[in-house]
Symmetry: C2
Subunit: 366 residues, 2 copies
Amino acid sequence: MDFFEKHLSSTLQAHVPYVPGKQPSLKEEVLKLNTNENPYPPSESVKNAIFEEIEKLRLYPNPQSLELRTCIAELHNLSQEQIIIGNGSDDILNLCMRCFSDHQLKAGMLDPSYSLYRSLASIQGSQILGVPFKDDDFDLPIREIIESNANIFFLTSPHAPSGKEFELSSLKQILNSYEGIMVLDEAYVDFAKENAVSLLNEFDNLIISRSLSKSYSLAGLRVGYAMSSPKIISILDQAREVYNLDRLAQVGAQAVLKDRKYFEFTKKEIIKTRDQFHQELISWGWRTIPSGTNFLFTQPVGKANERSASVAGNLFEFLLSNKILIRYFPENALTSSYVRISIGKASEISILIDKIKLWQDQEIRR
Amino acid sequence: MDFFEKHLSSTLQAHVPYVPGKQPSLKEEVLKLNTNENPYPPSESVKNAIFEEIEKLRLYPNPQSLELRTCIAELHNLSQEQIIIGNGSDDILNLCMRCFSDHQLKAGMLDPSYSLYRSLASIQGSQILGVPFKDDDFDLPIREIIESNANIFFLTSPHAPSGKEFELSSLKQILNSYEGIMVLDEAYVDFAKENAVSLLNEFDNLIISRSLSKSYSLAGLRVGYAMSSPKIISILDQAREVYNLDRLAQVGAQAVLKDRKYFEFTKKEIIKTRDQFHQELISWGWRTIPSGTNFLFTQPVGKANERSASVAGNLFEFLLSNKILIRYFPENALTSSYVRISIGKASEISILIDKIKLWQDQEIRR
């Protein structure tokens, strides 16, 4: 054992870090449809808010993000005590893992879903149980979640990477019987038909996690939040770093949250583009999961109607060489024949479609 | 046991969160000398850097903060592989605790010093050993640190809350014999005569933590960093949240780090004001620790030459009622008769001195 291994904490010894999607340098000219960013810039109001706040940067931020929490509470008709702010929703998910799992208290997740949960569990020394889907319809495995005996369960809703939107009634059915802490990771929910906020009144073991990275175009500013019962929020708050959100993020987030008109506009545009693109994919015979998110999960069809990991990988590489970034997930049998494509502007999806048609022509001639 | 206790992780059950100094709303008109912020705003160059970056907020930041790390590496004549960036240096300290301590691997700290270490240990389920000072000269307890058997030791250098600057030779003496991971928390070192960066070449178990909150006037932006051997940096990096630093913080930090002229100007002003104020306190007969930081730790003298927790508390309350915030630490016998005062602008310290003289008059008449 070398010096460093000898001194390493037991959980780090076996830790597998999370690997994010590629973030190219902005100098590279690429069409970036791989990490579900919003194709529209954030509300213009963010600029003034940040300009004004720059003057105060010598001073520590409000350690409780009080004004931002009030703003979010008002948006959802909740109280400030039901809101906690994170340095991105990854910070929120980490707090959940640290507070409600350890070497004895098991965590659970849908398998596949957001692979960060697994990384957060390993660094906490927690066992994480993956509850698999029956097939690539990605229907919610209700009974298996209830019977998982997980102390805390991370349920990505709508689901990623499939984009599938689960029924509110199914989530309620789980909450009626599941006995642990339930985290609904609603990072993409603004692009769905329903959300679970109304369930907070009924279930005080429910935590809903949200991100400003997708529907509010603030991936670069790192703001997420959770809504729950005051009791759970007070527990999460004990594990939070005191000054986890800087001044610019606190005011920038408030600015975009208050511009409801712009939020509705960009949301509608993205949903419209998504649904049109979905129709296009269907017309090609590509199996595509109905999406409640800002991405589509689709199964490319290769030569001789082949649908496989090889075909998906082939499309991925073709687009990459044409400077279009999408994502694919070869590590799981349910996802390996699919690719995930973030919804850009209509003009960008149009460019993508042209390139895919080129690929299709190549495939036929292969 | 109620529902929440039953589901709480073992470390959270006994966790004692960190309590920061008071951060008043900016609507209150107070003279804020309690959390060691810089009285000068950050370099003007921060504005342009942030203005330009706002345009890119829809996109995720660089997950490795590559440009910022290069900038810091150049500043210290190190390689990029020797630098890791934190969301404030608190993030760095947390990574150190998570990677190199657990329920079996003990952490160590000077007692008293930065109380956050204790909080980070408790949430990690680690035992933390406080190595006490012999007396309120705050001389470094060299032998006791070496013999502490701590797997990781947090050594605040210069020391807080005393402000004491330790000799580089003493630190080297410790590193020559101490067998664990050593974190030198150099949050205040820019106001000191020496720093320990040169020791990185000799000791690959050394981690030096820095903050941009004090000497670079960026407390509101949350940026800290650590320097160490490439091996230790790669370990810490595994525990880091992938997108821990937002876009504006990445470019804002680069801007202030590159403006060396302004950095030197504000640093010199603060040191000049500190040293003049020190002379004033000495002239009153107040015992004051020679400071290598941007604050002074001084023992107020009350009626009939009384020096006590009561006198210190009395001064604290008097200044508070006069809208001047300072800090005192009643929980430790070595600190309870002292107050800690952040160095403001000369004009602010002048206002403070006038108020203290009023308090002295009141004390005499008491």
